[in-house]
Amino acid sequence: MKRHITATIDGEAREFLCDEDQTLLDALRDVLLKTGTKEGCGTGDCGACSVTVDGRLVCACLVLAAEVEGARVETVEGIAQEGVLHPLQRRFLEQAALQCGVCTPGFLVAAKSLLEKNPDPSEKEVRFWLAGNLCRCTGYDKIIRSVLDAAADLRGESG
């Protein structure tokens, strides 16, 4: 039995059909063809599928699509606004915070949600907030620096 869902996804009103037991991740990727959100594990252990639902950071692989009825879902695809990159995206690029890049969508979504709650996090706070996002390529160094620098950008403290 398919469910009919209405939700705001990356700022756009969307309607779609999903199975009762379909995850939000599968609905995003396979039904809405929004493949920017990645699957690394499907069990909530890697953070590649990070999205926000009504502002709350979640693993899309652990949320049922049916649960987002009426909600506001934001993915990596909605971070750049009107073609302008978010400071996080810019810093990730400038500082080579991605190698293969498959973890990047999840890191960007998670980091954005951190900076919305805590505009001036310490290195340690960034590391602990992002501990649910796995990256096997970078050793995290350039990711952490990019997040700290983007935070400074957003506070208007750096150029």
Binding site: T43, D45, L85, G101, F128, A131
Partner: protein, 752 residues
Amino acid sequence: MSEEKKFRWVGTRPIRPDGIDKVTGRANYGADFALPDMLWGKVLRSPHAHARIQSIDLERAKALAGVHAVMTAEDLPDLFAEAAKSNGGHDGFNDLAHNVMARGRVLYHGHAIAAVAATSSAIASQALELIDVEYEPLPHVLDIASAIASDATLVHEDRVTQGVEGAGLSNVANRVQLGHGDPAEGFDLADEVIEREFTTRPVHQGYIEPHACLAQTTPDGRVTLWSSSQGHFMVRDYTAKLLDIDLSLVKVIPAEIGGGFGGKTTVYLEPLAVVLSRKSGRSVKMVMSREEVFRASGPTLGTRIKLKLGATSEGVFTAGEATLHYEGGAFGGSSVMAGCMTIFAPYAFPHVRSTGYDVMVNKPKGAAYRAPGAPMAAFALETVIDEMAERLEVDPVDLRLRNAAKEGTLASFGPRYRRVGCVETLEALRDHPHYSAPLGPHQGRGVAVGFWFNAGLQSSAGVNLNPDGTVTVLSGNPDIGGSRASLALMTAEEFGIEYERVEVVIADTQSIGYTDVTGGSRVTFATGMAVIEAAADVRRQLCERAAVVWEVDAERVVWEDGEARLKGESDQAPLTLAELAQNAGRTGGPISGRAALTARGVGMGFGAHICDVEVDPETGRVEVIRYTAVQDAGRAIHPSYVEGQMQGGAVQGIGWALNEEYVFDSDGKLENPGFLDYRIPVASDVPMIDTVIVEVPNPKHPYGVRGVGEVPIVAPIPAVVNAVYAATGVRFRDLPLSPPKVLAGLDGESAA
């Protein structure tokens, strides 16, 4: 290009060409492709570590609504039968064929046995449950000691040891030995001799993107594959070979790849997807679950190394001898050869010998993992050197420097070294402030050296000039870590044009010449060489075109600073790349260059790492508190991505040292096939990773490039273990140094 050449682009840090797509979610990885008629394929896997397949009944699965195709090994050509006619049957492809789908027997828990394609992934999963398989469980063998015992259960009933005259049936697939001199003589000359034994467990490459592909076939036999791999030509060649199809009929379109580390230099799903697509007449997408990735892809397996080192009281190594046993999984083919070749490689030894055994066990078929075989070998040698330094009461870096390999040193693996940067790397480490920084209580510092050969192999490149003066570069290597950026930088350098005017495209198997995998740290070195050559081809044409415009001999034209200039006194205004490109139609037609080569002159790579740890005496938890990686890159084309390789390799090695291990139960079933229980380092586990790039240019590369991708994972294990010794006074010789093991060691219980 002369040594003093001033670079304009090489060594700068621009944004990578594919960057925007990767921070906005637009980049398409293996699982991101879809076709309207697409089915979902799934694999049924063995619940036994070793069993005879008595029967497979597919009828109930086939009858399920939504199921369009079901397959077993019966649907694949029997390569063994063919190969047996010519060479006795055992070759890599025969093993690969048996790995992608079990035939007759299953050899490890998770071995593929059947596959289905259905209209949804849920139906495909349901269909797997309707496949009835009867197994006759067989005894299995899971570790080196039982596999090499004289009465061992055989993984294969018909294999003898390669490399041993008159060998009988055995689980040892291969024995190798190399070295020079006579170790016994060398040990006689030593004042101190230390002999130790080391063990490591299977670990997985742990790329975040699971294996994935999409196959489309046509009734006339054509195949198109979208696939994430370290080499789409490899996918084409292996798939065609396993299915006995002409290479010209198979087109592989490279997806972006979400990490490989050696684990994506082979195929698992692609041949199955093609068969399912042929049987169903629809396109078929297959994506491994994380559990399948752990159970049935990769890993690198367990090892046991016995190592003996002799040195004079002045700290000169007189002899080294090692016996290495590496598990190769169910088919052999471990990295033990590379282990033997690298184990003594960073140092000069008058007498050295390593003997390696490639051991078959009922575990997944091992795959390459970043500097295959070398990290375990370095674990053994570099911790014994640490112990030797302590015994001789010399500084561990000085001891290494005294024996370090240099130009002319007879390498333990055979030849004499050419110009290498082992000494310079160690000196940079010794001079780094980290090496002399103070330490607190429960803290310790360790150092270690890592070596890797790097690879050359075959590469093709195309350089097309567009009418507006921009340049499109074609490469045949998937870009895993920023190689588009390094190729674009080299192209901009060759033409003397802006980096932003160069676009790099990873071309499919029908659009560029053959190119070997992205592996062996070879892309910036080898494909870079091809790009430089293709650009030179274009530059030559540009000079010819300028000569046509100026009505002079082409010899009178030179290319300088992005424009063609007439040699000698002349009032001809130079012609820019853009001007020549715009008028190409008038001067002879479109301008494009190409190069295809087997890259020669590969530069071997050395790294040296410093690690500080703090060990919690209450819990046994080891925390890495400071880390510095030093490495000879030859020449860093894009230093950020060189640093990225060093930092990523360091953390991957830290994970291997401290946390990561496959845990099998007594039935051979992997107990931790997920990131929750197979714990790779997370951001809060590690500090910033400081980097120092040393540049001892490779004299055989136009820019001096050496490979950089693999070296960084070699030194971390011994650096961490030496640091733990410095902090605790306990020498650990069995990985990983998990808290319970460390705690037991601290309590004086058998640490070694």
